[in-house]
Subunit: 336 residues, 2 copies
């Protein structure tokens, strides 16, 4: 942690502890929020703090969960997160998935009764640092209409894939299946910003650039039925399979306090050297060959997924995180 | 096999045997081609037969491969297909992946030195019939330009996911990462059909609806950098990881006879009941809830991936496969 953000970290940790999280869980959660800010994923950062605290207060996040890890096999584990804050459930799950893969070559860890955990890529990075390939799926509240439907049901349901690259910059593909992240719409709404054209419809099915109207309407999936199919796949893998909520039952964490989210996650991890001895050389060669292709006009470098995020991380790491007036006010209130 | 297509099946088998495939391999290959025709995936059907035969003749497909299956663990296997015809390699691999998952809950099977195997969904169906969830990735010759590049490198790199549905119609998502399948462009080229607008560029980077120009140009990925990232992920999973070719080295089977393709595939399988006892009930409920959403105008039923294909299969199964004049001519020549 950079010294300039140490103060913020301590403040966030205190706020979580004040809301009855234990010290370790408060630290995990504070770190995840700060990481989101540093990589520029503001929709997963401080703008969510109040929501987490509200959910704890209203007893739909359990600050003192009895998390159960059930061993299915040496490779496979099932975690019942007892409605912990999502960060903690995901942190335990990725560590278990890493442990299982290190032991047997492959790890498969399913989580149920969890909540929103922020960025999938944040957990993927942990596995990649341990020299593993990882695939991560999570459920989310309704935001996208299935192909052919006029009402939202699937979440933005991110697909995440990470691999070591034989360099310090990991390959982390972490993309929602919607044209735009819900967090970005929420951030735009909170900061009175317009949305790009063509990413969302209002509740009457009309195209809108108004973030507030988009939140009440429908987000558009990428690539029509293909994006819809991918979102459905994620709903099945992270919801139906794990014991988590699915098919539109995950509650919106900002708006629905009638119960816990019961989000499900699925973590797959495996060793890079299961089938080839020279994976590091091969992935390096792969990236080099893509990078040296002729570029379209205006492009200086072909970037692999995760590279831009890493650049932002390096650039912002030593800077003090900027906090908007609205968030400052929220922090002040949450502190006392 | 329906009696009306039995004759065609026998003819295809004979053609493959004439090209030195053994009886079993010839049957596997003939069945895969006929299945592609029945489900309406013509780009993966008879239009490829001559290519396979040409490749065998030119010794870049090995008609008499010594396929090695290496056991990495109870769950994990590595197959060196010795440049067999892709159908055979994939058939052995999915059966191994099923066996491993039945034994340990999860199967991971990588294949190297393989070739084009047709439809991923065809193999996914085998796993789903055995009540397993499956994810399948395969490499393909350059067709899509990475985001920012002006030259093709990634294949159309399909992503395939299958699950049982507690009904006879499996959920099989099987989608390439391009706006249109390369097989469809090839089929359009062979039959003098136009392409839709916006799916491909010619070799000068201009939008085209001419299938021949598109084959020499670049196919467009779905959803810009997201589609490009997914294609890259598939290249890594099926190529870098498995020991197969990657980063644009997979040869075009129709145009490049200078060596075998050395395509890689990756098959992941797992049991549906690892984490929940009532998966069948849950998936049924999931599909029901999506299907009963309000529909956009003109849509009668919200379909899940694989449903349309199953309908086509049922509809066409008892019909005689229609063979175009060009293909008829090819069959005549290949027979003698």
């Amino acid at each position: 942690m950079n010294i300039k953000n140490k103060k913020l970290f301590i403040l966030l940790k205190e706020i979580f502890i004040k809301h009855k999280l234990n010290s370790q869980h408060a630290e995990i959660s504070a770190k995840a929020l700060i990481n989101a800010e540093i990589v520029g994923a503001y929709g997963h950062g401080l703008s969510r703090l109040k929501m987490y605290c509200d959910r704890i207060k209203k007893k739909v996040i359990n600050p003192n969960p009895k998390i159960k890890i059930k061993k299915i096999s040496q490779s496979i584990s099932h975690i019942d997160a007892d409605n912990s804050i999502g960060f903690v459930a995901a942190d335990i799950a990725i560590k278990k998935a890493i442990e299982n893969a290190k032991k047997t070559g492959i790890g498969l860890v399913a989580v149920k009764n969890s909540g929103h955990y922020g960025l999938s890529g944040y957990y993927a990075e942990q596995a990649v640092k341990k020299n593993l390939i990882t695939m991560i799926y999570t459920n989310a509240p309704p935001a996208i209409a299935p192909h052919g439907a006029s009402k939202s049901l699937f979440g933005t349901n991110p697909i995440c894939f990470g691999t070591p690259t034989n360099s310090k910059v990991p390959f982390i593909f972490d993309s929602s299946i919607s044209m735009i992240n819900r967090g970005k719409i929420r951030f735009a709404s909170k900061n009175n910003q317009k949305l790009p054209v063509g990413v969302a419809l209002d509740k009457f099915g009309k195209s809108t650039t108004d973030a507030n109207k988009a939140l009440k309407g429908v987000q558009l999936p990428i690539a029509g039925f293909r994006g819809s199919g991918l979102a459905w796949m994620v709903d099945i893998l992270s919801g139906v399979l794990t014991g988590g909520n699915h098919s539109g039952r995950v509650k919106d964490p900002f708006e629905d306090f009638t119960g816990p989210q019961n989000i499900g996650h699925l973590f797959i991890t495996f060793k890079t050297n299961l089938f080839v001895k020279d994976y590091n050389k091969r992935i390096k060669d792969n990236i080099k060959r893509v990078k040296r292709l002729p570029k379209v006009k205006g492009i200086k470098e072909i970037m692999y997924p995760g590279q831009n995020k890493y650049k932002r991380y390096k650039m912002n790491f030593k800077k003090e995180i900027k906090i908007s007036k609205i968030i400052k006010k929220e922090l002040e209130i949450l502190k006392y």
